[in-house]
């Protein structure tokens, strides 16, 4: 049976019964996740959802939002530059890669916002180091045991019943979601997220119960994750019964977004979903690969927004898209681009303050052939934390002036 939490509340069922159907949070987690009934105000910060899409590998910002007026762009990329006439103009001086056509309507309806030239001081061009910086908000020189979303969700943990964050995907769990006290689930697919045993219930009960007298930190870590997995799988099995209300294109990111939409529809109170799309490390033969990736991203994003609108949940969901760095301004000799620095970030959803923050990239003033950043990515995080999720950003990202991203 699929019962959304809000439906249960309107039916006046006991809070404890609702609590029992919540994902993943029970005695294993030090914080108290006592059930707190939400008000009817759907736009309340505690009902809002953030979906993070990570474009892994370093997305070429310059070929995503094309600086069509800049001759230096065309000079640096004799082979890879996108001709002005094939870009899609969406106003506000923004010219999209032709594969981003599904985003046109979103821009028209005010549901897209671009933050130009995001990055950080002294950019690192290693995928892994740069990704760690985006995930933890910290440099390698300081201790990095938690990610920004892990810290955020730990500080908000008492407000809901279900697990506060979910990673959707088969790759390893992103550092962004790590924290010292919360074990968050990763779900590869809703259908496979269960024990395949004829005695699954008995086994699930056994695995939830802690190992006796553990004095091993490692065993405790596994026990916490095992308990989370067992409780979460029961709840996700319920959500797997809900269906999407809109068609999606056939690609890997779409499948993940479809899962997110179904989980939202099923009434899960989870406030952060994290997913990624890999393949942006286009050192060679960039045009075809990049075009296909951008189209995957744009088309699944557009379908996701429509699905949420049909559900009536669109007002509650903001999608943030980022990549660990942009790419070198100058193309290389393999029809590709090497690792770069600053690049645009994207927000998708209702209540956005402006279609674009910041100016077009400055191709005159480069550092080592790479774009300088205008905004620190942590200003974007801080704006989302403060104005979308209604939390205090400083303890999560440090002292960065939040950007005014929402109305």
């Amino acid at each position: 049976m699929i019962v959304s939490r809000r439906k249960l509340i309107t039916n006046g069922l006991a809070a404890s019964a609702v609590g029992a159907s919540c994902i993943g949070i029970d005695s294993i987690v030090p914080q108290s996740f006592a059930f707190a009934p939400p008000t009817n105000d759907a736009a309340r910060a505690s009902d809002r959802i953030l979906v993070v899409i990570q474009l892994s590998g370093g997305n070429d910002g310059l070929n995503t939002l094309v600086p069509v007026k800049d001759d230096r762009y065309y000079a640096a990329r004799p082979e890879l530059a996108i001709a002005k006439h094939s870009t899609l103009s969406v106003g506000h001086e923004l010219h999209l890669h032709p594969s981003l056509r599904p985003l046109e309507t979103l821009f028209e309806n005010g549901l897209m916002s671009v933050v130009q030239n995001t990055g950080y001081e002294n950019p690192n061009r290693s995928h892994f180091e740069s990704m760690d910086i985006w995930h933890t908000c910290r440099r390698k020189t300081s201790r990095r045991q938690s990610g920004w979303l892990g810290r955020l969700l730990t500080s908000r943990a008492e407000s809901g019943g279900d697990v506060p964050g979910l990673h959707i995907g088969g790759e390893q769990q992103p550092l962004a979601l790590k924290s010292r006290t919360l074990a968050l689930p990763s779900v590869t697919s809703l259908e496979d997220f269960s024990l395949k045993s004829r005695q699954a219930d008995q086994l699930g009960e056994l695995l939830k119960s802690p190992a006796t007298q553990s004095n091993s930190e490692l065993l405790d870590f596994i026990q916490d994750n095992t308990s989370t997995a067992m409780v979460a799988s029961e709840r996700v099995a319920d959500a797997a019964g809900s269906t999407n209300k809109h068609e999606y294109p056939d690609n890997a990111l779409s499948k993940k977004l479809q899962s997110v939409a179904r989980l939202i529809e099923s009434g899960l109170t989870t406030s952060v979903y994290y997913l990624s799309l890999d393949g942006f490390d286009t050192h060679a033969k960039q045009p075809a690969a990049h075009s296909a990736l951008l189209n995957s991203w744009a088309s699944s994003l557009a379908s996701f927004v429509k699905d949420l609108e049909l559900q009536g949940n669109a007002q509650r969901v903001c999608v943030m898209t980022f990549s660990e760095f942009g790419r070198r301004v100058k193309e290389n000799a393999s029809s590709g681009t090497d690792h770069g620095a600053a690049a645009p970030m994207f927000l998708t959803g209702h209540g956005l303050s402006a279609p674009v923050h910041g100016g077009p990239p400055n191709l005159e003033d480069l550092v080592d052939g790479d774009l300088k950043h205008e905004f620190d990515f942590r200003q974007v995080y801080a704006g989302i934390i403060r104005d979308w999720l209604g939390a205090e950003p400083k303890s999560v990202v440090g002292s960065f002036e939040p950007l005014q991203l929402f109305t």
């Binding site: 892994s56 690192n124 061009r125 290693s126 995928h127 892994f128 180091e129 390698k140 990673h167 088969g170 790759e171 390893q172 769990q173 689930p185 990763s186 779900v187 590869t188 496979d192 997220f193 269960s194 024990l195 395949k196 045993s197 004829r198 005695q199 008995q202 086994l203 009960e205 056994l206 695995l207 119960s209 190992a211 006796t212 007298q213 091993s216 490692l218 065993l219 870590f221 596994i222 026990q223 994750n225 095992t226 989370t228 997995a229 979460a232 799988s233 890999d278 490390d281 050192h283 060679a284 033969k285 100058k330 193309e331 290389n332 000799a333 393999s334 590709g336 090497d338 690792h339 080592d368």
Partner: protein, 460 residues
Amino acid sequence: MLAQPNPQAVPQNDNWAPYLAPLDRAQVAHLTRRAGFGCSNAELDELSGKTAPEVLDFVSQPNSPQLDAVTKRLASAALAAGSVDNLAASWVYLLLNSPNQLSEKATLFWHGHFATSAEKVTDAGMLWQQNALMRQNALGTFAPLVQAIAKDPAMLIYLDSESNRKAHPNENFARELVELFCMGEGNYSEKDVQELARCFTGWEIRNRRFRKNRYQQDTGNKNVLGSSGKYDGEQAIDVVLKHPAVGNFLARKLIRFYVSEASLLEPESPAVQSLAEHIRKSNLNVGSAVRQILTSQQFFSSESVYQKIRSPAELAIGFARSLNITTNTQAISLDMRNVGQGLFRPPNVKGWDGGRAWINSSTLLGRSNMLHRIIHDDKTRFDGESTISDYLAKRKLDSVTEISEHFATCFIAVPLSPSRIKQVISAAEISDSSVRTSIKENQLRHLLHSLASLPETQIC
């Protein structure tokens, strides 16, 4: 009899000084699980009382000609079909059956170190060739391996470096050479990467083979890591390998893979520093470093015993080897992929992070499901028997407690208390007083699967 916890005290002076005492059964199990993928109960009995170097000799015996022939036949069929999945199954066959466990484990280490994936390199022949290259150099010195990898077609294609021209050098291989293969991030500058990239200009893959295109070679002077010269690629690798950071980098990766992912790994820890020193002094001889690690006081101490999370390979292959299981190798390799360790499909150029990164809700459910499938697969034989009941009868194991303890000692490293065993039996709804002949085959399999799914099973 349950194995007793036996970690030794943490060594005070030289972490890697040899552990000289004869090994008890649990220590032999510890060593064979880390050096390779474990061994059967009968082998544990046979090896108890031997020293660590003697056990290492046992797990590094050469493959029989028959085994080599079967593996070759399986791989040839996979290559003829162009199937990377079948190729992965061929390797699983070798992991399960090779008496040279030390070499196979080290080959898997290098596969994660010089990660190359079929997601991009679709030529199965190239992947198998790279696998052979790693096996050949698995326990030798580092330099020849790096030199060979730098010219390996699969690697260069994976890193988009099949062509590299003078005018705009492609930085990808040069960057990964210092960041992920030899030194680690933070030990070089962006300028070093760019200069290194110039050294590899003219290196390319044509018709599936490496060659140097001298017309595209940048013959000018380069400054790499503080020294300068008209370096070509080979010389550039020599320059990189002379850097002291290489020893530390290899030491940390080896400790993480063979010993523990925890405190030992702090870059400044004495364990890392002293192993790095050994590695530098031995001219980067990784084989001798692996042997030193596995026969050291540190390795048998409480900082190492039960301090590692099993990789999917260690879990699946180790489970099968511990019960003398023969089974569907194709299914095992697919299962391993589902829980994050597809052979020939590492997640990215950094390879598998390992440790706690193996564990999340999906992989925990998947690990349990993987062992469930092995236990229930029609092709599975338990030491040649098609039922667990016959397997147990052969070993004269009767009471449900004896049976559970037997399974636990086979594949669970952490000792289970009697009350934990009781808890598992009762959760399986089997009465404490049951004997084998009164327990249905399905219940026995469920009992085995329950033990295999415990959090304790994930540790070794």
